[in-house]
């Protein structure tokens, strides 16, 4: 449609709105139409607006003006019928093309989450999404070069293993958390589902004694007593500090228990790290809130002795806090992992960016951070083209933190990891010697040996 008739029709349609509406908005709308480049879409949009306003109870009271409605209906039909024919023809064309190429894969799929069993360090659980949505797999990785598949179960993302290795907490893709009995890794069974205030739980952590499960949900942390996994009891809901910038709410967040189980650290919902006193979970209170100077923290880890808390921010800065006085965490060291340039190069328009894993060695002497930088992804949804092959890169940084006041970097490793689409959070095995990466397309899990 040429602009001139479209503009004329648009102005005519403004006259078709109910009288009271015109008295209020007509001048403003005409002013907008003066500045707006009217197209067929503008006309159609106004026609729909006219009809829905006439049907709106707030304006219906004045009585329908049949002449106006009829005028609007005629104008809409003139536009809508040819448009509908074009849409249907295009749809048929696209359908025929896809059919011929035999490719109906629309969506994403791949490995989304992973966890190691703390009891048997050779049991790994992975989850996938996409066509095999929510399918988890238990692996025996005794021989990292030849992982053995033990069983599949439909749990969702496994986010935490209970310390005894018998229970896995998962979050289904509808946001429903559940507990699974994996005492016999070849026969996993669902024990129960947990009910929270809403769906969309992201991070979960078991207390070291395995009695408490903490799960964060937007600005809240739920604490369940899971002594009897079949009958979990909601003990308490903690309100996490939420502060601008709101965009921090969209980040990967984390919660972690101190090794003695008396403290819980969370990054939930703001550019801050909160420390909670968990001595009595029923009366858990926030004892400290530390602003993160380097932006939102993506991952947290307590040292094995519980005297240090490490956090890594989206910008790749690792901060070490001393917990000598848990109510007053003191910043003792900051270390940089990947550079701002590397992050910028890996951040795509869709919002993907680096993902981090942080872990102290069991002896507390070293701290390892893995930064996973995805390549900028192309078109994510693809109806008839194969996904372009892409290589993500993992950077592993190892520091000596025996003396937190003079931290030295021991090693930096870098390797290409995944193909196509992106990857899940990198994972360190409990011995700190193997990095596990999962490709989010192609369902591949890769184990990397650290020297």
């Amino acid at each position: 449609m040429r602009p001139a008739p479209a503009a004329r029709l648009s102005r005519a349609l403004v006259g078709c709105y109910p009288r009271r509406w015109r008295e209020r908005y007509r001048q403003e709308m005409l002013d907008i139409l003066d500045q707006h480049q009217a197209t067929a879409r503008t006309v159609l949009n106004l026609a729909v607006g006219v009809l829905s306003t006439h049907l709106d109870p707030a304006y219906r009271a004045e009585g329908l003006s049949m002449t106006r409605l009829r005028r609007a209906a005629v104008i809409s039909a003139t536009i809508a019928v040819p448009l509908a024919v074009i849409v249907v023809l295009f749809g048929l064309l696209i359908f025929a093309k896809s059919w011929k190429e035999g490719h109906w894969h629309i969506g994403l799929g791949g490995v989304t989450a992973m966890a190691f069993s703390p009891a048997d360090q050779h049991i790994l659980v992975t989850a996938t999404s996409g066509p095999q949505d929510g399918l988890d797999t238990l692996w025996d990785v005794t021989d990292p070069a030849r992982p053995r598949r033990l069983a599949n179960f439909e749990g969702g993302a496994p986010t935490a293993f209970a310390p005894d290795g018998r229970t896995v907490a998962t979050v289904a893709f509808n946001g429903q958390p559940a507990l699974w009995n994996v005492a016999d890794p070849s026969k996993p069974t669902r024990v129960t589902t947990l009910r929270a205030g809403g769906n969309g739980l992201w991070g979960e952590a078991f207390s070291p004694d395995g009695r408490i499960l903490a799960a964060d949900y937007y600005d809240r942390i739920f604490l369940w007593n899971v002594t009897k996994p079949a009958r979990p009891r909601l003990l308490r809901t903690l309100a996490a500090p939420v502060a601008p910038p709101w965009k921090a709410l969209f980040n990967q967040d984390d919660i972690a228990f101190s090794p003695d189980g008396r403290l819980l650290a969370s990054t939930v919902g703001s550019n801050q790290v909160a420390v909670w006193n968990m001595a009595d979970p029923v009366r858990a209170t926030r004892i400290a809130t530390v602003p993160s100077e380097s932006g939102f923290m993506n991952a947290l880890a307590f040292s094995p002795r519980g005297n240090l808390l490490a956090g890594v921010s989206f910008g790749g800065t690792v901060t070490l806090f001393s917990l000598a006085e848990p109510a007053r965490p003191a910043r003792v060291a900051t270390m940089q992992t990947v550079t701002a340039g590397q992050i910028a190069a890996s951040t795509c328009a869709g919002g993907c960016g680096p993902m981090y894993t942080l872990e102290f060695a069991p002896d507390g002497q070293t701290l390892t951070a893995v930064a996973d930088l995805s390549p900028p992804s192309q078109e994510t949804f693809s109806a008839n083209a194969p996904q372009p092959s892409q290589v993500a890169r993992d950077y592993t940084f190892v520091w000596n933190v025996a003396n937190p006041r003079s931290v030295s970097r021991i090693a930096v490793l870098s390797h290409a990891v995944t193909i196509s689409g992106g990857s899940s959070l990198p994972l360190l095995d409990p011995s700190g010697r193997i990095i596990v990466t999962g490709a989010s397309s192609g369902f591949a899990v890769t184990l990397w040996a650290l020297p």
Binding site: S10, L13, R24, Y25, Q27, E28, M29, D31, I32, L33, H36, T42, N45, L46, G49, T53, A58, L108, G110, V111, T112, A113, S129, G130, D133, A157, F173, N174, G175, N199, G200, W202, Y218, D219, W246, K247, L249, F250, N251, Q252, G295, F296, N298, F314, G315, G350, G351, C352, G353, P354, M355, D372, S374, T380, G422, S423, S424, L425, G438, S440
Partner: protein
């Protein structure tokens, strides 16, 4: 950006876009349209804009200010700001689920 969204249907709720646009100060109709196109890539048509504006006004989430030369600026109300904050919280929940499903980290 909007090209991709168009092919998938209407992604963004016009009310949310308008409230977001007014969050940093009053704007008149055309300025809202230009601002929304600018920050979200969504090209709102006048019919959609005024349909949503009149609903927002009726609910007391925005209020019209005095007309300046044919143009009437709109201002977000305190209730409107609360509603916007709630909407952002809901979106965050959606993002969490989307992130679980796509395993893609979101930038700061």
């Amino acid at each position: 950006m909007h090209g991709k969204f168009d092919s998938l249907g209407r992604f963004a709720d016009p009310s949310l876009l308008i409230l977001t646009s007014l969050a940093d100060g009053p704007k008149h109709g055309y300025a809202i349209m230009a601002d929304v196109a600018d920050f979200s890539g969504v090209r709102m048509e006048p019919g959609t804009l005024y349909g949503a504006l009149s609903r927002l006004e009726r609910r007391g989430w925005v209020r019209p200010l005095a007309t300046e030369d044919r143009r009437r600026p709109y201002q977000i109300t305190a209730t409107g700001q609360e509603v916007l904050a709630e909407q952002v919280a809901t979106m965050q929940q959606i993002v969490r689920v989307a992130r679980l499903r796509t395993a893609t980290a979101w930038g700061a």
